[in-house]
């Protein structure tokens, strides 16, 4: 791995951690905690993306230990983002947003068993409340847990994919060309 790609890992992980400040400023119910993972994958491939996801989870766990069991979700996100980059799905919002919705479903499917088995579906206040809503609607416990995760992830991952698309298109071509996957991800190579 080149030094540039090695440096990209902590920078992308720190972006994921710092975006919470931007989300707080606009008071939107989003996490954007996989932005760095998706961005690193779209720029540099799955190895860098997975490493970014693992580091993001590890450092996030120092602040809130409940993040660590969800490291598997970060790995799945990196692999999905790699497939999306290979297919050039970051070329426009029209392709990126539906791909983000797909990731939302996949992320909810991955996080549901972890949330159910480890935390009894109580990972964050918002998810616990939507899970309670699912129970009130008559869903079985696992179904209600998926409902809570789905509501949290579906929009979040679509916004994250759209944001990464904006970043990839906002990078000057010469800067993007220094990363091995960037131009292919936006369909320019």
């Amino acid at each position: 791995m080149s030094i540039r790609l090695l440096v990209l890992i902590p920078v992308a992980a720190a972006i994921s951690l710092a975006l919470s400040a931007a989300v707080d400023a606009v008071a939107l119910p989003l996490f954007l905690d996989t932005t760095g993972t998706i961005l690193a994958t779209a720029l540099a491939g799955p190895g860098v993306g997975i490493a970014t996801g693992v580091v993001t989870s590890a450092v996030n766990s120092l602040r809130n230990p409940t993040f660590w069991p969800f490291v598997a979700v970060q790995v799945i996100v990196a692999l999905y983002a790699w497939l999306a980059a290979r297919a050039g799905l970051f070329r426009s919002f029209k392709t990126a947003v539906p791909a983000g919705f797909g990731l939302g479903v996949l992320a909810a499917l991955t996080s549901t068993p972890i949330s159910y088995l480890v935390f009894g579906c109580t990972t964050t206040g918002g998810i616990a409340l939507t899970t309670a809503l699912g129970r009130a609607l008559g869903l079985p416990p696992l179904g209600a847990c998926f409902f809570g995760s789905f509501v949290a992830d579906f929009g979040d991952k679509a916004v994250t994919f759209a944001l990464v698309t904006s970043v990839l298109h906002g990078l000057p071509r010469r800067a993007a060309a220094r990363f091995p996957w960037a131009l292919r991800a936006i369909g320019a190579a």
Partner: protein, 218 residues
């Protein structure tokens, strides 16, 4: 406790939640939660308060979603995990962990990635707040409907991400001049001492977790 080798601290923090899940509830979870909360007391009442305040919402939502025995069983496990992590974060300064990793023969690149993320996260958070202040001065409003808020999010997130990516080349150059290339070995300045008794204790913890798993599976 803070004098223990970083790997020993991590082994204790990893073994307690593992045992909480493996030992039968609620007694196993209660025992591990008591030990984990006791460990936080060795770092001062502030750590214990942090652990209790972090675990408290889980108990609230568990009682909302589950019956009492299930809530107690899961709640004690989550409390063990939270208290163990809070304790190890308080007892283990990251630079000491990096020194231990380098001394143990880990790649300097791995140690760099971990340490650089810890250092970069607060810097980027502060930059995000400065960007938010600057955009507000230019008239950005975070009020209104969903589309308006998303536009505001873009105005905050894009400068943050793009400026961070532009720093990658600068950082790479700085590392290359310090010869931090993949595969290079570094010499730790003050590696934490790793006593034989501690190495034995770490293997003991691994054996205890394996024994608990075997006992549960029989």
């Amino acid at each position: 406790m803070t004098r223990l080798h970083p790997f020993t601290l991590l082994a204790i923090a990893g073994a307690l939640p593992a045992l909480a899940w493996l030992l039968p509830a609620p007694v196993g979870g209660l025992a591990t939660a008591v030990v984990a909360l006791g460990l936080t007391l060795t770092g001062g009442a502030r750590l214990t308060r942090t652990a209790v305040l972090t675990a408290a919402p889980f108990w609230l939502f568990l009682l909302l979603l589950h019956d009492l025995p299930t809530s107690i069983a899961i709640g004690l496990r989550v409390t063990t995990m939270v208290a163990s992590f809070v304790w190890v974060v308080g007892a283990l300064p990251p630079p000491r962990l990096v020194e231990a990793m380098v001394a143990a023969g880990w790649s300097a690149s791995v140690a760099y990635v971990f340490a650089a993320t810890l250092a970069a996260a607060p810097v980027l958070r502060a930059r995000a707040r400065r960007i938010a202040d600057a955009q507000r001065c230019r008239g950005l409003s975070a009020r209104g409907g969903l589309a308006h808020r998303l536009r505001a999010l873009w105005a905050l997130a894009l400068p943050l991400i793009l400026s961070s990516l532009h720093e990658v080349d600068e950082r790479a150059l700085a590392l290359e001049t310090r010869r931090l290339v993949p595969g290079a070995r570094r010499t730790p300045l003050s590696p934490p001492p790793d006593r034989g008794a501690e190495r034995l204790a770490r293997w003991g913890l691994v054996a205890a977790c394996a024994a608990a798993l075997g006992w549960r599976l029989r």
